[in-house]
């Protein structure tokens, strides 16, 4: 009788022991698979976070190192401004995905017929009510109001550097005046001067989702600062509207990086750009949000990893103990097998096959059960059930490592008995 047949017969006839090990392997594998799925969901969330926290650095004028002048409006810094050329050199550094610099002014908006548009809460004075706080954007996607989540696009698209004569207004203003994406309106900086009036195409509409108590961006729904009264135009449009005024450049610009982890290195690379006098500019890293959220995610990740390791270690100890007890109780059988000339490796191989036979049944079932359990366990770690997915890669990994660990467990369990001579085993039986 070969060892395979013996292994099958043992597994079938000692069904209580088989069932015990089966249940143990099933529950452990289910937990480990679920843990891996949660861990992956965690990693995915972290990855997502890297891309969505808008980790950036700001390059701004260093007024402390510049001189000061006096004008009609009081003293002002004579420090140089950030130019488009400087910003293009900075954005060329590897790892920077985009940038934005903004000029804010008040534009008067009217429809194509020259009829002034009204703010959301008009005062009754048409020349006041037609004034809208407007921002120029190189890329509106990176504007702080959109990045912070205060505003959300609900129709159309963001302003990209390639856009010209485009404007984004709020959905509320659009609804109030029956405007839609694709419609044209007019904008002028100062209607009482010879400032140019430009026709602008509405490229997108936004919704205000900011908390009404948000004071960070001077939110005040009863004033100009009501986000619904904001508008966004492209850089070239703003320059055209302000052509009567000196283009000094930007006081600051925000540069957004692909991977927050690389922020420090990118800043170091930026500081190596020799054509910019870094004595005149300050670089500030804006990664507080990422650091704060990633620290929390990292803590959860550590907890999940610790749990997986803990479950695996405790399970392995448990399995080794059970196998040890089982093999100890089979000492007599081992002595008999050795006495009839079956070699020790063949006996160990038989025990290994028995364990693997159980694993072959337990692992696929654990795969199926973990698909049900993982989502439920994931919610305990703040994940949505849908985001916790047990994949075939998880199964392959767990099945392979599980098989290796089980073989190791059988070998470890066999050591005490295998160190004895057949006579010692048989005399211990007596």
């Amino acid at each position: 009788m070969n060892l395979g047949t013996r292994a099958i017969l043992y597994t079938a006839r000692k069904w209580k022991k088989t069932l015990l090990l089966f249940c143990l392997l099933l529950s452990i594998t289910t937990l480990v698979l679920s843990g891996l799925a949660i861990s992956d969901a965690q990693e995915e969330q972290a990855e997502e976070l890297r891309g969505t926290t808008g980790t950036s650095f700001t390059v701004s004028r260093n007024t402390a190192t510049g001189g000061w002048g006096n004008g009609g409006n009081g003293s002002y810094s004579t420090q140089e401004y950030l130019t488009s050329d400087m910003m293009e050199k900075i954005v060329a550094v590897d790892g920077i995905e985009g940038y934005n610099a903004s000029i804010r002014t008040i534009l008067c908006l009217s429809d194509v017929n020259g009829q002034w548009l009204e703010q959301l809460e008009p005062t009754g004075h048409s020349m006041v009510d037609c004034q809208f706080y407007s921002y120029s954007c190189i890329n509106s996607e990176y504007h702080s109001l959109f990045l912070s989540g205060a505003l959300e696009m609900c129709d159309g698209e963001m302003l990209a550097p390639s856009f010209d004569n485009g404007i984004i207004i709020s959905k509320e203003i659009a609804d109030k005046h029956g405007l839609h994406v694709g419609d044209t309106i007019q904008a002028v900086n100062d209607p009482f001067s010879n400032d140019k009036t430009k026709e602008l195409k509405i490229v997108g509409l936004f919704e205000v989702v900011a908390d009404k108590t948000d004071e960070r961006n001077n939110f005040n729904e009863a004033s100009y600062y009501d986000y619904a009264n904001n508008a966004f135009v492209s850089e070239t449009t703003m320059k055209a509207l302000l052509e009567n005024y000196e283009d000094v450049g930007y006081a600051s610009a925000d540069f957004f990086v692909n991977d927050p982890e690389q922020l420090e290195g990118i800043i170091q690379q930026v500081q190596k750009i020799t054509s910019i006098n870094w004595n005149n500019f300050i670089i500030t890293a804006n990664d507080e949000v990422y650091e704060r959220v990633s620290s929390s995610i990292s803590d959860t990740g550590t907890l999940v990893t610790t749990l997986i390791v803990l479950i695996t270690v405790v399970s392995m100890v448990l399995i080794i103990l059970i196998l040890s007890m089982s093999i100890r109780s089979r000492k007599k059988e081992m002595g008999i097998l050795l006495a009839v000339g079956i070699e020790k490796p063949a006996v160990i191989l038989q025990y290994t096959i028995e364990t693997l036979l159980i694993a072959v049944a337990a692992f696929p079932l654990a795969y199926l059960s973990s698909k049900q359990v993982a989502g439920m366990l994931g919610t305990l770690f703040g994940k949505t059930a849908e985001s916790v997915i047990v994949t075939t890669q998880h199964f392959t990994l767990v099945a392979t490592l599980g098989a290796i660990l089980l073989i190791a467990a059988v070998l470890i369990s066999c050591i005490p008995a295998m160190r004895l001579k057949p006579k010692e085993i048989l005399s211990q039986m007596e």
Binding site: R6, K14, G335, K421
Partner: protein, 247 residues
């Protein structure tokens, strides 16, 4: 019986197992066997007598390759069993029968016999007195005598030339013990096996062709008995040998 032909074509009996100056000491250095010299032939049943703890089972274990002697050498058909490999020796040359039967409890009698044999086990089991139905039962549901028959069948199925039996009738009633003794005798005389029995039982020893006594680690040949039931003579010789030992 194993024979070899000489140049004159005479049939000469050959030793199948030979022990030369075999000694054995436990780890605590206590010597249990001292310079044992012994030659065993095929076709004979040997009985080894001796008090408890005198090293009978140890001697059987050494002959069966379950352990290695501290001193001396053991030969099977002229070859040193350690050099040939103890595991191979156990597999090919010897078969054990134990007092506690030592059957594998999750296998049926048939499967226990099949452990050591590729031959169909049923004819062998029937030869030792087990029916087809009994051969399919769980071994633990058989009586002691039936279990020992399975153990003997397993020994026979291995086709080993040497059968080493450690107290094979120790757990059996008189009638069953007698039946087992007869089977073992048949193994020696009809199947030409070398049967070595370690026993406390004089009744079983009486069945042996040769009786050996192990005393204080030394081996003494007591008698060569034929099968005509010379039990009186045997007892007498035992007594004489005791006297000789005491002197």
């Amino acid at each position: 019986m194993m024979h070899s032909k000489t140049k004159r074509n005479e049939v000469v009996s050959m030793n199948i197992i030979e022990l030369k100056n075999v000694g054995y000491a436990y780890e605590n250095k206590r010597k249990v066997l001292k310079a044992i010299n012994l030659s065993l032939e095929e076709g004979k049943m040997y009985a080894i007598l001796g008090s408890s703890g005198c090293g009978k089972t140890t001697l059987l274990s050494l002959m069966g390759g379950l352990d290695s002697p501290s001193d001396g050498q053991i030969f099977y058909e002229g070859k040193n069993i350690e050099k040939a490999g103890l595991s191979a020796h156990r597999k090919n040359n010897v078969a054990f029968i134990f007092q506690s039967y030592n059957l594998i409890d999750y296998l049926t009698p048939k499967e226990n016999v099949a452990l050591t044999s590729k031959l169909p086990p049923q004819p062998i089991l029937e030869r030792v007195g087990l029916t087809e139905e009994e051969s399919r039962r769980n071994v633990l549901k058989l009586s002691g005598g039936q279990q020992q028959r399975v153990a003997i069948a397993r020994a026979l199925a291995s086709d080993a030339k040497v059968i080493l039996a450690d107290e094979p009738t120790g757990n059996l009633d008189e009638d069953t013990a007698a039946e087992i003794a007869n089977i073992l005798k048949e193994c020696a005389h009809q199947m030409n096996k070398c049967v070595v029995i370690v026993t406390h039982s004089n009744e079983l020893a009486k069945q042996a062709d040769e009786v050996l006594r192990l005393h204080r680690g030394e081996m003494k040949m007591l008698d060569r008995l034929n099968q005509s039931g010379r039990s009186g003579c045997y007892t007498e010789i035992v007594l004489q040998t005791y006297k000789a030992f005491n002197r």
